[in-house]
Amino acid sequence: MAKEKKENSRRQFIKSGAVALAGLAILGGGVEYLRSVHGPNDTRTPYFLRPPGAIAESDFIFGCIKCGLCVQICPIDAIKLAGISEGLAYGTPYIDVRTQACDFSCDSLQCVETCPTAVLNFKQFEIAGGNAIMEYQKTHDVTEEGFNPFPVQIRAMKEQVKMGVAKVNEGSCLAHKGQGFKGVSRGLDFDGIYRSPENIHGKASPLKDREFDREICDLCITECPLGETAIIASADEMNAKITPKVLDACTGCGVCMMVCPTQEPSIIIEPIKEDSHV
């Protein structure tokens, strides 16, 4: 009797175990299918702009444990978690720069530092910052008055960020049309905040509090947290048109896209598809 019972339970275990394995196999197949649809080989779906230091999208999306610590630590609430409509990217962090750009006003890349896994990889920033301090120490002495290597460290860390690259849409760009801009850029209902380069040591302040008056619109150039290494006004000799020109140092932080006053942004951030970090 007891033996029969044991045999029965063994048979049931094998049966349910087989069902479980089949379920797991289906799940794995589903993941692979979704990956082939939404994965890095598919150019139809727009990429997410990931927080600074994100490893390659194909690794990132699958290595993130979706804990949300980066969301919590961001002082300007730039990072959000993706919803279920994003398929496999569900629960992963992204930055919608048109709504709220990453302006580096935290000055320490806290989101990367807080990430418990290495999908936001801090190592590169640690190295870049460390190198900058070493360089600084070569030309400055500790006993010197005003010895402070931190600004160069922070600067080096920021420059190391490569979330995406800004791209100008000349069709709608005010500068390209030769138009100026006067007023509040995104209207008084816009909630985005950032730290203007004019106020480099201050806190981030609302964009709606700032009134601009420019003969030729150059908001994306003047408000860029990286400055002239990332974006400059380039004059076209032929027709004397001025257009913003994005340079190599662009980090994809998206402040330009957030401050752009046109209805549809005339400068957009294209996320880096390939891994630039590891």
């Binding site: 349910s16 990956r35 290595g63 979706k66 804990c67 919590q72 418990p116 290495a118």
Partner: protein, 310 residues
């Protein structure tokens, strides 16, 4: 360890004059029900569970910075905590993805903290913190009601099915280099919904609960959840556990009826106990339901080793 205790020769069942109700001079059926309606530990546990999950919410919503993140990975006052099963998957896929060496010190701190905690209290996490457990308790009540009304049949599976899933999800993580499990993990889904706001993914949790109500009681917790299985594995040596005194037991088995994992109480059946004192196995979630319901107070929380000193 568990096996060897179970395989020892059993003690003789107590004669009627040694039964606790006879000593008290009570009718057996009345004696059995003396503690019904006592919900001391359940109330304490529910309060703790709700408070912990509220703390996650409040830390984000009010910017308290006390308990940040969610149950898959969090920071308690700056101290990292990472779910062990999640961490195992991260380790596997970081090796596959070639960024293992980039895993931070905070990752290892979080990983080992949880491992150490689980060797103290085993699956305590399940019933004292996991938000899915609370919902599943409600689903279980409904399920029991329907079974009692003979509207549905009870379906059980082998409890070792969990380990098939445990290995399976790890292999799946390795082969797809994707933490697949976190996509369907109701703990993470609920925890994120509490902290960062709900999403459509909650439909999956609802589907799981419906399945548990109409088909198999506590299906996810008992037969699938690799998170619980991990806590049970590392909790094999846990000193914080539930103690059973054969002397006070009346063989009524009410405790097994309320237990989420009744096999841990195998010794309460008449003639099964092999020792005067037994401790529940590693699968026990320390929920305290058995302690609340026991008419003879034969079950109690204890810390092995320390209880002898007191």
């Amino acid at each position: 360890m568990f096996k060897s205790v179970k395989n020892k020769p059993t003690l003789k069942p107590k004669p009627i004059e040694d039964m606790p109700h006879t000593k008290l001079g009570m009718d057996y059926n009345v004696w059995c029900k003396t503690q019904h309606g006592n919900h001391k530990w359940r109330n304490i546990r529910w309060t703790a569970l709700i408070l912990v999950n509220l703390l996650f919410f409040a830390s984000f919503f009010l910017d308290l910075s006390l308990l940040e993140g969610s149950l898959s990975g969090s920071r308690a006052m700056g101290f990292y905590l990472i779910d062990t099963y999640n961490a195992l998957q991260v380790i596997l896929i970081s090796i596959a993805g070639g960024y293992f060496t980039s895993l931070t010190m905070n990752f290892w701190i979080g990983f080992f903290t949880i491992v150490i905690l689980s060797t103290l209290g085993g699956r305590t996490y399940c019933s004292w913190i996991c938000p899915y457990h609370l919902l599943a308790e409600g689903a279980e009540k409904l399920h029991n009601y329907f079974v009692k009304k003979k509207m549905i049949k009870e379906h059980t599976f082998n409890i070792y099915l969990r380990f098939v899933f445990w290995v399976g999800f790890l292999l799946l993580a390795l082969f797809t280099t994707n933490i697949v499990f976190e996509n369907i993990n109701p703990i993470g889904i609920l925890s994120r919904s509490i902290t960062y706001g709900p999403g459509l993914i909650l439909l999956w949790v609802l589907a799981l609960l419906l399945f548990e109500i109409v088909y198999s009681k506590r299906f996810w917790c008992r037969y699938v959840c690799p998170v619980g299985a991990t806590w049970a594995m590392t909790g094999k040596v846990a000193p914080i556990t539930v103690k059973f005194d054969l002397d006070k037991c009346g063989y009524c088995r009410d405790c097994q009826d309320v237990c989420l994992v009744p096999h841990v109480l195998w010794f309460v059946q008449r003639g099964k106990a092999t020792q005067e004192v037994h401790f529940t196995g590693s699968d026990c979630t320390r929920c305290g339901l058995c302690i609340d319901t026991c008419g003879g107070k034969a079950l109690s929380f204890t810390i092995k080793g320390v209880d002898k000193l007191l």
